[in-house]
């Protein structure tokens, strides 16, 4: 679930990059929009979402989980 930055809300404080345990924002600089340099290494710990003071970070559902998505669910799960 790699992070997605809403640039309309982001204030470029860099906290998301600072708190990421997996360093997926490698190369991000303060006063610039965060760079999600290694999205496939996100372990969806939610730190960036938690730390963002503006609610500008959300986590994207990764492709392997999208493969499992079934619009007719929950019917098929019964």
């Amino acid at each position: 679930m790699p992070p997605v930055i809403n640039e309309d809300k982001c204030i470029k404080c860099g906290l998301c990059a600072k708190y990421c345990a997996e360093d997926v924002f490698f190369g991000t600089r303060v006063k610039e929009y965060p760079t999600v340099a290694y999205p496939e290494e996100c372990t969806h710990c939610n730190s960036c979402v938690e730390e963002c003071p503006e609610g500008a970070v959300s986590l994207r559902i990764p492709f392997p989980m999208m493969l499992l998505y079934r619009p007719e669910w929950p019917k098929s799960g019964q």
Binding site: Y19, D23, E40, T43, E50, P62, P64, P74
Partner: protein, 548 residues
């Protein structure tokens, strides 16, 4: 003229050096702070989000001696000790003794241990244990942030974003460590009077779950076995690499488990035929030892009774399910509710599909009752597992470490040539052009481990694995990194390879099944003769195995 240490990088001096700032490192920092010694906490992540606890936790194991026999220190000793546990009764007693103290420390910073209306803790059973030892936690995803901020406020020196790559020894005693900043390559030299190893028990990137993503794991994928590799290289004895291998069931495709809460709530695991099959394998059904559920699920899969596998919770009362889905599970990992939204999961209405997780490789640095390892001055902060076991182990290890250096008050000299050589080694991938990327290197390791060291193994397969891992090892000098981030992955991959070789070698020696999550097809029975601990020691660079 020799190289000066200061010219190689930043030099730090402290009393107790704590390596790893996860739950164990935090427990160690609390103990060192209480003991009034200088402590330094080092991790390649950031204190507020590092380690398995970074994503959250929903249960804290606590034996509280409230009266009933099954809530007593003796019950814990009886449950956890055994011929292959690696734990002495004295170690377990210390864990139980520290539990209430750790709970108080956590409550002081706002960790929300849930209480019943009468003021007692809301506790549930799990893992086949005799008592309801697991205190439920609300808002578990905030624990690490709170703990991190408390530790900084206590004045513990915190060094974030530094990966430790080598322990220092002097006169047969641990004397510090070497590492480098994962974001800018700055080299760090740590001189200390005692060292606590709190780098984590679980190496999860050696195999994958069905998503194939090695970072979508049950425990933190940041951990690639440094706890064992650093200790082994420094000469400390390792044990239980052959049995302390673990796995769980995970919601299909979601790399976080929560099975403790699900199983203990009374969920039924169903195979593809809709059968609740656990009764064929263990009388404890879903609440027997976790390895039994893993082996049973694996066996059902092998014979074609699955996938899919489901956890059926629809018969459980709605309040319990609501608590489980919306309080406990997101506390373990906040993104669980995003996953539920995606998959339309509702415990009260539908079965939830689950799958076997990746296999995590673990073990233990052998230690005495004060948690000191066979290398004097080096303490094991990761004796026990889980949030409770890790934080309390770290606490006990640092308490002993803080008391230990009275007899060794000075800081040992650091060999600057050795430091210079280590600096060159860890930074080398930056200078290699056109070599193997860390990603490809790691994928090769996983191909071997997934194929030959899976849930069912045999001697020929493991010997082949060792041969292939040796081939990968022969290429490690061609590891190439384009950025400091890739350099970190390259150094993690070196550790991953080293732990995989040790684990495979140790597993080959255990010619039986039934004491871990894997089964040996060539030795399918549990054997009394193997009710022993296997240790691995560094004999001039080569592993030497010995039964204790």
């Amino acid at each position: 003229m020799g190289t000066r240490l200061e010219d190689l990088g930043m030099v730090h001096e402290t009393d107790v050096l704590i390596l790893g700032s996860g739950a164990a490192g935090c427990g160690a920092a609390l103990a060192a702070s209480e003991a009034g010694v200088r402590a330094m906490l080092v991790d390649k992540g950031k204190l507020e989000s590092s380690g398995c606890l970074g994503g959250g936790n929903d249960h804290f194991m606590a034996v509280l001696n409230t009266g009933p026999e099954n809530d007593s220190t003796q019950a814990a000793v009886d449950f956890f000790s055994g011929p292959v546990s690696g734990f002495s009764p004295a170690m377990i007693r210390q864990w139980v003794e520290v539990m209430p103290r750790m709970i108080r420390s956590l409550e002081d910073i706002g960790v929300e241990f849930i209480r019943n209306p009468d003021g007692t803790y809301l506790r549930t059973e799990g893992f086949g244990q005799p008592g309801n030892w697991w205190i439920n936690i609300e808002n578990g995803h905030r624990i690490k942030r709170r703990l991190g901020r408390r530790i900084r406020a206590l004045g513990v020196d915190v060094v974030d974003n530094v990966m430790v790559t080598r322990l220092l020894t002097a006169g047969g005693r641990a004397a510090g460590a070497l590492g480098y900043d994962i974001r800018d390559g700055t080299f760090h030299i740590f001189r200390a009077k005692a060292v606590v190893m709190a780098l984590g028990n679980s190496a999860n990137r050696a195999t994958t779950n069905s998503t194939g993503n090695p970072f979508n794991t049950w425990h933190s994928p940041f951990n690639t076995g440094s706890q064992y590799v650093l200790a082994f290289d420094a000469g400390a004895r390792l044990i239980n690499l052959d049995v302390r291998q673990q796995a769980t069931l995970i919601p299909k495709g979601f790399g976080c488990a929560g099975m403790n809460g699900i199983n203990s709530s009374g969920a039924h695991e169903l195979n593809a035929l809709g059968e609740r099959f656990m009764g064929r394998y263990h009388p404890g059904m879903e609440n027997g030892p976790r390895r039994e559920q893993i082996q049973a699920t694996c066996q059902e899969q092998v014979i074609g009774n699955g996938p899919p596998f489901h956890m059926d919770m629809r018969h459980i009362d709605p309040d319990t399910l609501n608590h489980l889905q919306y309080v406990l599970m997101p506390g373990d990992k906040a993104t669980f509710l995003d996953y539920c939204g995606q998959r339309g999961i509702d415990f009260a209405k539908y079965k939830m599909e689950v799958e076997l997780s990746e296999i995590e490789f673990s073990g233990m640095i052998d230690c005495d009752d004060s948690f000191e390892t066979s290398l004097p001055g080096l303490f094991n902060g990761c004796v026990f597992s889980t949030f409770s076991g890790s934080s309390c182990s770290g606490y006990i290890a640092a308490r002993s470490a803080s008391a230990s250096f009275v007899a060794h008050p000075g800081l040992a000299e650091v060999d600057s040539q050795l430091a210079a050589s280590e600096r060159e080694r860890v930074l080398r991938p930056l200078a290699v052009e056109g070599g193997l990327s860390s990603g490809r290197f790691e994928t090769a390791i996983r191909q071997v481990m997934n194929y030959y060291m899976g849930y069912v193994r045999n001697a020929a397969g493991m010997e082949t694995a060792l041969d292939r891992l040796a081939l990968i090892d022969s290429r490690k000098d061609t590891l190439s990194a384009a950025t400091y981030h890739e350099l970190m992955r390259a150094n993690e991959a070196r550790h991953l390879l080293a732990i995989c070789r040790l684990v495979t070698l140790a597993t080959l020696e255990r010619k039986e099944s039934g004491r871990s999550i894997y089964r040996r097809s060539d030795y399918p029975e549990k054997e009394k003769a193997f009710a022993r601990v296997l240790c691995v020691e560094n004999d001039n660079g080569s592993p030497r195995l010995q039964w204790l």
